[in-house]
């Protein structure tokens, strides 16, 4: 195995292009587990820690650009108020020690269906900025990024540079089911983002299909039911949250595994969808959810 240590983004892209067998490593919280347990023996590790600009964030063109190497702890502290759904998900990742190392970029690169960042990124309509030395920059919508279990739209010579998302324009919530509050890989998870200005709803389902995914039918149903200005300022009609939950549960394609059964996951998703919508709506009526 080789250890590649680029000191700049350009050098990282050049090394990536020449070494398709290299595995990029940021916080190591996924990659090192696989190496420690001999699940993986890559030809090389491509350490992205020295590329300091990856650990920064900025506001550009009215959107937040979060560097792929920004640890969760800093994401929560420095931009959490602007991306509350993502920040809520980040708070549920592992332990404080893991959050000091783990990154959104690493979560995207690993592309586990259970990754905590994916549902809020989907709900918020985030884009993934990737780059290669030969092909330049590509912006990939989150919903097109996940192709299968641990498979992404990233090409062999590309690296993840950042994720882009607009600061929340309405309430956002994330919910996750597991055996305890800390140190838990999601049995399943759900994120909602309300976009009141566009009369639109965003959703993301985690750990209940081969990839994270949106519940498109549920989004359309809810937006349709709430069409029109007055509806967004009133209490939720009876039964609406329940119906929304059912549609979210139906959007999933879960399996039975060690963490839970498919039936349980569908049920839990319906409950989480109902609850997160209720919380988001309470925020909206209370005026606390940024509208």
């Amino acid at each position: 195995m080789e250890f590649l240590r680029p000191l700049s983004w350009e050098e990282a892209l050049a090394l990536r292009a020449g070494r398709p067998d290299a595995v990029p490593i940021q916080g190591g919280t996924d990659v090192m587990v696989e190496i420690n347990f001999e699940v993986r023996r890559p030809g090389a590790l491509l350490d992205l820690n020295p590329v300091r600009e990856l650990a920064e964030w900025e506001m550009a063109e009215g959107r937040l650009r979060i560097g792929a190497g920004l640890p969760y702890t800093r994401l929560i502290e420095e931009v959490g108020d602007r991306v509350p759904g993502l920040a809520q998900a980040a708070r549920t990742v592992g332990s404080p020690q893991i959050r000091n190392r783990g990154t959104v970029g690493g979560n995207l690169g690993a592309a586990s269906p259970a990754g905590d960042c994916h549902p809020p990124l989907l709900a918020a309509g985030a884009q993934v900025e990737v780059e290669s030395a030969a092909g330049g920059v590509r912006m990939i919508p989150a919903e097109e990024f996940y192709l299968g279990v641990k498979r992404t739209a990233l090409r062999d010579d590309e690296l993840i540079r950042a994720v882009w998302l607009r600061p929340a324009e309405g309430p956002q919530h994330f919910s996750k089911v597991g055996t305890r509050n800390a140190m838990v890989i999601a049995v399943c998870s759900f994120a909602i983002a309300l976009h009141p200005a566009e009369r639109r709803v965003g959703t993301g389902i985690g750990s209940a299909a081969p990839t994270p995914l949106r519940a498109a039918e549920a989004e359309e149903f809810l937006a349709g039911e709430l069409a029109g200005e007055p509806a967004w300022g009133r209490s939720l009609p009876d039964g609406l949250a329940e119906r929304f939950g059912e549609l979210v549960g139906r959007a999933a394609a879960p399996i039975d595994d060690v963490r839970g059964t498919a039936a349980y996951r569908r049920h839990a998703l319906a409950v989480m969808a109902r609850r997160t919508l209720t919380w988001a709506w309470q925020d909206r009526l209370a005026g606390t959810g940024r509208s």
Partner: protein
Amino acid sequence: MRVTFTVNGSRESVDDVWEGESLLYVLRERMGLPGAKNACEQGECGSCTVYLDGAPVCACLVAAGQVEGREVRTVEGLADGGRLDPVQEAFVECGAVQCGFCTPGLIVQTHALLARRPDPSDAEIREALAGNLCRCTGYEKILDAVRLAASRKTGAE
């Protein structure tokens, strides 16, 4: 490969490090610093908690090459010469040690908590220590020790 980094204030170079090796292995097996414990090797137990550039992390999940030029502080680096750190003293006084295996990780994590938040609530203590498992389940005395160390730090005692 050779890795050069600062450990407990001293600049050290280690040779013949395998590229896939963890910081934990380097500390324990190559540098004679067995304080950080090797247990789960997957970031679940917190027994290997050390500071990396001032932030507590699981040493088992840091690739050795990633610490090149950086600063690591282990549980061995908390005492001031012969004088234990107040967090260590509090663990001794409270009997917050049963088998002792999780203790170094808990002490480093507690040290980091109190540096950031000298007077934490019980909820904050539990949250901070959520990634440190005590298999003996001696959590009550551990919480006592954290509270004692905090009270001394804030001068309440």
